[in-house]
Amino acid sequence: MNDRKKLNIDYTVYETFLTKKFVNRKMYAPADPKKITAFIPGSIREIYVRKGQKVKEGDPLFILEAMKMRNSVYSPLNGKIKEVHMVSEQKVAKNQLLIEFE
């Protein structure tokens, strides 16, 4: 909280202080089906694909190990891999970008 700000609630503009949590809230962005991100923080164990490779929906992409579970991640679509943003044994954070499709 620092200075008074304007806050619009149902078309009425109020002068008020904002909370840290409100100021730092994540703005919503729709999910991009062409980007595969880590759904849980963990470690990359196997990578089955490389840049430029064509994959079909359901093909295994990589294994993300978290909480002692090896999670296989499969391709959600038919397409070509534009970029692989991880290496084997890398620790990744939640929502970190791992694979991009063209």
Binding site: I9, D10, Y11, T16, F17, T19, F22, R25, S43, A93
Partner: protein, 514 residues
């Protein structure tokens, strides 16, 4: 052994057992800036009032050479004592004894005391300072935790339960404070988390200090797990004692009355509220203008500050106050503020404390993050808690009471016993700008000068509906009152409701949203 020898033997045993983990461990405790378990009880309780139970209890563990180890009092000091001449049950984990680790007998000492507190109808105070489960005792240690949680739950709403976290309180252990009514933390001393920094780092690669993960500040400002924050242990114990002046000893009692006092003169309501309805002010100044001696004990001051909760007295009697805070996020309800208010309302209802609700609410906080965080089910908690509460419910509408926020803030429709509004109140389905935009949409769009027309229509709506009189004409509020007569009206309402009885349909228990 002669009688004299027996007595001498007793004193030797007693003093040995009372040394806890010994000189070295006690020094280490002091170096961490912490008092020992016994010192803490001395400070918290009335002078010389502590009566210890189970000093000679020993653990039964045989594995890992544990049978050769003596753990004095099994790492926890338990007993009864007095606070301001009222009896309380209290336990303090002794970090100097095996890191205050919890084994089965340690837990059984605590559960014995909890059973006692429930039976005798008196508060339970726990001082948590423990490294966690005593790993050598294996599943027996887990059994101990479970038996404590079970009793925390049985005691909930029967006796006040206070947790003072003065050291680490991690893993399963931290669920006990979470099940109690009020959690006190102290800067740099309290550490609460389910999974510690080491595990988080090895498993997930996230690097964070213990303080940033679950220190006192974090629990007080970010997570909402703590209710009171102090800079020192001494300040913390003062806060605990102050809280006890406002709450009853059990659900069979009412809080002790105090001699009535007038609010301090410097809080003049008419100087606090700004003329423009969209300008902020500090709702706590209004509270101080209404309550005895302007004395307000705020709870969870630094978390979800868009709603203010706490205890005060009016004409000598404790009331629980819930007020929208226009100074923060315009006083909206959101996920956190709903949780904060709902739990407080349920505490007050369980312990016979009348509710005074001060309304100045523009509505709910809009946003994807709020919707995805479940503002529906969180917001519903407020409706549930107010509707469920059968204590005296007094509502005062200061300025805005719009839409769902109006209903939620203890409206007549949720069973308020007394609803007052100031002449400045605006009780409406939404703010004039929003309402005019919807109702006169086509008129505004079709006008030669839409902006001018919008202004006109907003003004028209404001004059007609932005007041307390539409609600008053429907009987949704009982009286429009002047700011100056407010305190007297509240005092009178409390007198009228002194014998309130409100039977409810039989049920085992409700299923509140969470």
């Amino acid at each position: 052994m002669s009688l004299k020898q027996k007595i001498l033997d007793f004193f030797t045993r007693k003093s040995t057992a009372s040394t806890g983990g010994g000189e070295k461990a006690i020094q280490k405790q002091a170096q961490m800036g912490k008092l020992t378990a016994r010192q803490r009880l001395e400070v918290l309780l009335d002078r010389n009032s502590f009566h210890e139970y189970d000093l000679f209890v020993q653990h039964k563990c045989k594995d890992f050479n544990m049978d050769t180890k003596t753990l004095h009092a099994d790492g926890v000091v338990t007993g009864t004592g007095m606070i301001e001449d009222h009896p309380v049950c209290v336990f303090a984990q002794d970090f100097t004894v095996a890191g205050g680790s919890l084994g089965l007998m340690h837990a059984r000492k605590i559960t014995k005391l909890m059973d006692h507190a429930i039976k005798m109808g008196m508060p339970l105070i726990g001082i948590n300072d423990s490294g966690g489960a005593r790993i050598q005792e294996g599943v027996n240690s887990l059994a101990g935790y479970g038996e404590i949680f079970y009793r925390n739950t049985l005691a909930s709403g029967v006796i006040p339960q206070i947790s003072i976290v003065l050291g680490p309180c991690a893993g399963g252990a931290v669920y006990s404070p979470a099940l109690t009514d009020f959690v006190f933390v102290v800067d740099k001393i309290s550490k609460m988390f389910i999974t510690g920094p080491e595990v988080i780092k090895t498993v997930l690669g996230e690097d964070i200090s213990m303080e940033d993960l679950g220190g006192a500040k974090v629990q007080n400002e970010v997570s909402g797990n703590a209710h009171f924050y102090a800079r020192t242990e001494m300040e913390c114990f003062d806060q605990v004692k102050r809280l006890f002046t406002f709450i009853p000893w059990s659900n069979r009692k009412k809080p002790d009355p105090f001699p009535p006092k007038s609010p301090k003169a410097k809080f003049n309501i008419n100087n606090i509220i700004p003329a423009e309805a969209n300008k902020p002010y500090d709702i706590r100044d209004i509270i101080k203008a209404l309550v005895d001696d302007s004395d307000f004990l705020e709870i969870q001051e630094s978390w979800a500050a868009n709603i203010v909760i706490g205890f005060a007295r009016i004409n000598g009697d404790t009331v629980g106050i819930i007020g929208n805070q226009p100074m923060v996020l315009a006083g909206v309800l959101d996920v956190d503020s709903s949780d904060k208010a709902a739990r407080f309302i349920r505490f007050c209802d369980a312990f016979n404390i009348p509710l005074l609700t001060l309304v100045d609410i523009p509505g709910y906080l809009p946003g994807v993050d709020q919707e995805h965080a479940g503002v529906i089910r969180h917001g519903a908690k407020v409706l549930y808690a107010y509707s469920e509460a059968s204590v005296t419910k007094i509502t005062l509408i200061l300025r805005k009471a719009y839409g769902g926020g109006y209903i939620a803030m203890c409206s007549r429709h949720l069973g308020a016993d007394f609803v007052f509004a100031w002449p400045t109140a605006e009780i409406a389905v939404m703010g004039p700008e929003g309402a005019a935009n919807i109702i006169f949409k086509s008129e505004i769009a079709e006008a030669p000068d839409p902006d001018e027309m919008r202004k006109l229509k907003v003004q028209e709506y404001t004059e007609k509906f932005a007041n307390p009189y539409v609600a008053a004409s429907n009987g949704h509020i009982d009286a429009v009152i002047d700011t100056e007569e407010t305190r007297e009206a509240i005092i009178h309402s409390l007198k009228v409701a002194a014998q309130k009885r409100e039977p409810r349909p039989f049920k085992k228990h409700g299923v509140p949203p969470n």
